[in-house]
């Protein structure tokens, strides 16, 4: 292979000749958020007209709503217009017509200041920041709905909202939290940090990654717009006869949730391939940071479970528009079909929400315990175990539904089995704390809070897995308290730990630690004060999603509501801290404030374009604290030939072509 070696820069996927930089267009013609909005508006109008046109002579089943087709087609074409406006289709169209595809990383306008965050950016660090800000906005919006719910529940009989407004609020809160928070960690931290943590300069599929983000505002806005159509009265689960019966707000629910399903498939797809194929030389599986393991496990769940959700949402849409009868019992369908499809996704979904939290805390505690992670392989095995088992437990949501009573012992067993790998996460934490030198930094406090909350959440889950006990607890506030402990107490606390830990890395800015501690203590106290009593409320017989309850439960409900408002105030402290630290104070944080061995901390903050000057060669694991002679985690400037040795001679896909 005597070939000339030309130091030409390799191009992005597509393999086209590097095109000359595109002629500069005026800013308002460059694809960005404003063109996306224009595209969405045009798309909606066209889709609405098309729906009316197609649906005008369509045979309708009795009691069905005839105006769903224009809404659904309007939404779908609005999404197409939205992503077309962002320029998502430009490169595929160039490929289809045989024109050269420009190398995006070199696109001059891509690097331009704040504006790049409003564009279809192919830089994984930009996507990470977009996700971070987006997720905080979605979380706060959905949190405000929760405040409204708690306001209504201040009194058992006196109503602030009408019953229709109340179910709208319940539905919006639940759906927005469950669907958008799926990407709470994978989006910001996964996209931003995974490539850096595995020593890569790029991700495998930057276009897919960017598209996955830009679908989230579309899903958010569509779900929000449901309020203009009268909302949807069936919570986040969308059980079928009700979701078929409901008015047009249900179309928003199905389209938004399906869209978000596609978004998480794309996000997970990119992460998996990146971790498998783009690890730096020396980054063996046994040196992968725990956070990357958790992202990998979460992504597998996303890629495999979310297609079933998309299928279920699609069936709701066809039942509502073209009048199929998937879920109509009298016409050969079954409402159980929806429950099965939904929970086949829905249970992996709750682990999509739990695993990233495990990953973040497992990543953080060795740093602040100044000790290696105890039982690295056990921790990885725990995450893999949760991933695999989570596909086999979904019918525990249907213990009272009348479905497959003979399968109950089996699903009881699988559900309880899942506590073994989950327990391993605790074993790892406890082993790491053994004789440690614990530093009480803000991220560490949040990690500890996560372990405390998730313990309660996990143990209460065991109560729910037992069929007799579940008969009383199912569908009550007990379940509601349980999953708020695992998701809010687990994921959100871990997310906060991640924000305080990694924001100096991602923005080069230090978050105020004093306000951070106030934030932690208020959030921890008011979180527990809100949700711990709800276990008792549930056991005392209050079902979920009600707006009238037994009058003897008013005192405890009022306590919960007031705590919930204080919890909201605590989140407000976080938002203030976030905005004040990143926008106003902008206190620089250089270097490695936590003395972490993580590879991401070995580069500048924020990392330069391309993350690393040279491909690093990983020399040892990320948790070698306390070993005096431990080699550095990576050689950031490896000698010539080392990187080449990692790939030449290795089998390539091209060898098969």
């Amino acid at each position: 292979m005597a070939i000339d070696i030309q130091p030409e820069k390799v191009k992005g996927p597509g393999g086209r000749e590097p095109g000359a930089s595109r002629p500069a267009r005026p800013w308002w013609l460059r694809p960005a958020i404003h063109t996306a909005v224009a595209g969405a508006v045009i798309g909606y109008v066209v889709g609405h007209w098309l729906g009316n046109f197609l649906g005008s002579n369509y045979q309708q089943l009795p009691l069905s709503d005839s105006s769903d087709l224009p809404i659904v087609l309007g939404y779908l074409l609005a999404v197409v217009g939205w992503i077309a406006g962002l320029g998502v289709f430009n490169d595929p169209l160039r490929q289809m017509t045989g024109r050269p595809v420009p190398v995006e990383e070199e696109d001059a306008s891509a690097a331009a200041g704040l504006a790049r965050y409003f564009r279809y950016s192919l830089d994984h660090k930009v996507v990470g920041i977009q996700y971070l800000v987006g997720m905080i906005i979605y979380f706060c919006t959905a949190g405000l709905f929760a405040m409204a719910i708690r306001a209504e529940l201040l009194s058992p009989a006196y109503h602030i909202f009408s019953s229709s407004t109340y179910v709208e609020l319940v539905g919006e809160h639940g759906t927005m939290m469950m669907m958008l928070m799926s990407s709470l960690v994978v989006g910001p931290f996964g996209n931003y940090l995974v490539p850096i943590m595995i020593g890569s300069k790029r991700v495998a599929f930057p276009r897919i990654e960017a598209l996955s983000f830009w679908l989230t505002p579309a899903a958010f806005l569509i779900l929000f717009s449901s309020l203009m159509l009268g909302g949807f009265p069936f919570g986040w689960t969308g059980y079928a006869p009700l979701s078929i019966q409901a008015t047009q707000g249900a179309d928003s629910y199905a389209v938004a949730f399906g869209l978000m399903g596609i978004s998480i498939i794309l996000a997970g797809f990119n992460i998996i391939v990146t971790v498998i194929c783009y690890r730096a030389p020396g980054m063996r599986w046994s040196r992968l940071p725990m956070f990357v393991w958790s992202m990998l496990a979460t992504s597998v769940l996303m890629v495999l479970a979310a297609p079933v959700l998309v299928g279920g949402m699609y069936m709701i849409i066809t039942d509502r528009t073209v009048q199929t009868a998937f879920f109509a019992d009298q016409l050969g369908g079954s409402s159980y079909l929806y429950q099965n499809l939904f929970w086949f996704f829905g249970h992996p979904e709750v682990y999509i929400l739990a695993l990233p939290g495990f990953g973040i805390v497992s990543e953080i505690i060795p740093v602040f315990c100044r000790k290696p992670l105890f039982g690295y392989k056990t921790a990885a095995a725990g995450m893999i175990g949760v991933t695999v088992l989570s596909f086999f437990v979904w019918q525990h949501h249907l213990f009272d539904s009348g479905l497959n009573p003979d399968m109950r012992p089996l699903f009881m067993l699988t559900t309880e089995l899942i506590s073994i790998p989950t327990g391993l996460i605790y074993l790892v934490a406890m082993g790491t704390f053994w004789k440690a030198k614990i530093r009480f930094t803000v991220p560490m406090l949040f990690a500890l809070g996560m372990y405390f909350n998730f313990l309660i959440g996990g143990i209460s889950g065991v109560f729910l897995s037992d069929v007799p006990a579940d008969t009383t607890e199912h569908g009550s506030f007990f379940v509601m308290a349980h999953f708020h402990y695992t998701i809010m107490g687990g994921l959100i606390f871990a997310f906060m730990a991640g924000v305080y830990y990694w924001l100096p890395k991602m923005m080069g800015i230090k978050l105020n630690q004093t306000i951070g501690k106030i934030h932690f203590w208020t959030m921890f106290i008011f979180f527990n004060s809100t949700f711990l009593p709800l276990f008792a409320v549930g056991l005392a017989g209050q079902p979920r999603r009600v707006f009238e309850y037994a009058s003897n439960l008013q005192t405890i409900n009022d306590w919960v509501s007031i705590s919930a408002f204080c919890l909201g105030g605590s989140i407000l402290i976080f938002v203030i801290n976030f905005v004040w630290s990143t926008v106003i104070a902008r206190e620089r944080e250089e270097g490695n404030p936590w003395q972490s061995r993580g590879l991401e901390w070995q580069v500048a903050s924020p990392p330069p374009p391309g993350n690393f000057a040279r491909i690093p060669v990983v020399l040892s694991g990320p948790y070698e604290y306390g070993t005096p002679g431990a080699p550095p985690v990576a050689d950031l400037n490896p000698p010539a030939g080392v990187v080449a040795a990692a790939f030449t001679g290795a089998p390539t896909a091209a060898a098969e072509a």
């Binding site: 292979m1 070939i3 000339d4 070696i5 030309q6 030409e8 820069k9 390799v10 996927p13 597509g14 393999g15 595929p92 289809m96 017509t97 045989g98 890569s200 300069k201 790029r202 495998a204 599929f205 391939v273 990146t274 498998i276 194929c277 783009y278 979310a306 297609p307 079933v308 998309v310 299928g311 699609y314 069936m315 066809t318 039942d319 009048q323 199929t324 009868a325 998937f326 109509a328 019992d329 016409l331 050969g332 369908g333 079954s334 079909l337 099965n340 499809l341 040279r614 491909i615 010539a640 030939g641 990187v643 080449a644 790939f647 001679g649 290795a650 390539t652 896909a653 098969e656 072509a657």
Partner: protein
């Protein structure tokens, strides 16, 4: 590095990195295609589950009532056949391009593309001329629900094939026979080959799905 004739020590750092990410991209194409098939399997699985669930439940005797006129067998068979032949043609001409015959592949791929698009077109026609109402029965629902999804995915696969045909055009025929003189050209060829392999696997997978769906919806309902 010992078993190849390449001399990595002679590479500049830039070339080293380019080679590293080139190989990562090839592997990513391979991995991505398999992962996409996994995700698609779960997506199709939702419909297969619906099919068998509703069939075994036969709620109110309306899985496939005797009054229901089934879909046109000839249309379904033709659509399935077109897709299978398209995948077979693509697989056959893949061997030709591996042997260095670029134009043979281009002709074959064009045939595969036309067959695939014909199948998509026919499928649209069939869905617009169904002999039953979508909500008439459980079977009718699953049929009306599944085929539009399959149609869109097959159409996307055909767009991918069209991109590959366009990508192949500027590559010199000789590049498929021997290593091109520069890294850039060699990388372009290898990436094209990797994408082509990935496409062929996915398209064969979709053809197998079409056969399974045909059996379920036209033969055994």
């Amino acid at each position: 590095m010992t078993q190849t004739s390449a001399e990595p020590a002679g590479l500049s750092p830039e070339a080293e990195e380019a080679g590293f990410y080139h190989e990562a991209a090839l592997n990513a194409t391979w991995t991505g295609a398999r992962l996409a098939m996994g995700a698609l399997s779960f997506g199709f699985g939702a419909f297969v589950f619906a099919y068998f669930y509703l069939r075994s439940l036969n709620s109110h005797g309306r899985w496939y009532p005797s009054t229901l006129t089934g879909p046109h067998l000839w249309a379904g068979t033709l659509i399935m056949g077109l897709i299978v032949v398209s995948a077979a043609v693509q697989t056959a001409v893949l061997q030709r391009i591996k042997a260095g015959h670029k134009t043979a592949w281009q002709r074959g791929a064009l045939v595969a593309l036309v067959l695939g698009l014909a199948a998509v077109g026919l499928q649209i026609w069939e869905l617009l001329n169904l002999p039953f109402f979508p909500g008439a029965a459980g079977f009718a629902s699953v049929f009306t629900g599944f085929y539009p999804v399959y149609l869109v995915i097959a159409l996307m696969a055909m767009i991918w094939l069209e991109m590959l045909i366009m990508r192949c055009r500027p590559i010199a025929e000789i590049s498929f026979v021997e290593q091109p003189p520069t890294f850039v050209e060699a990388f372009a060829v290898q990436r094209f080959q990797a994408a082509l392999s990935a496409f062929t696997v996915v398209w064969n997978y979709l053809a197998a799905t079409a056969v399974v769906a045909w059996v379920l919806f036209y033969l055994v309902h």
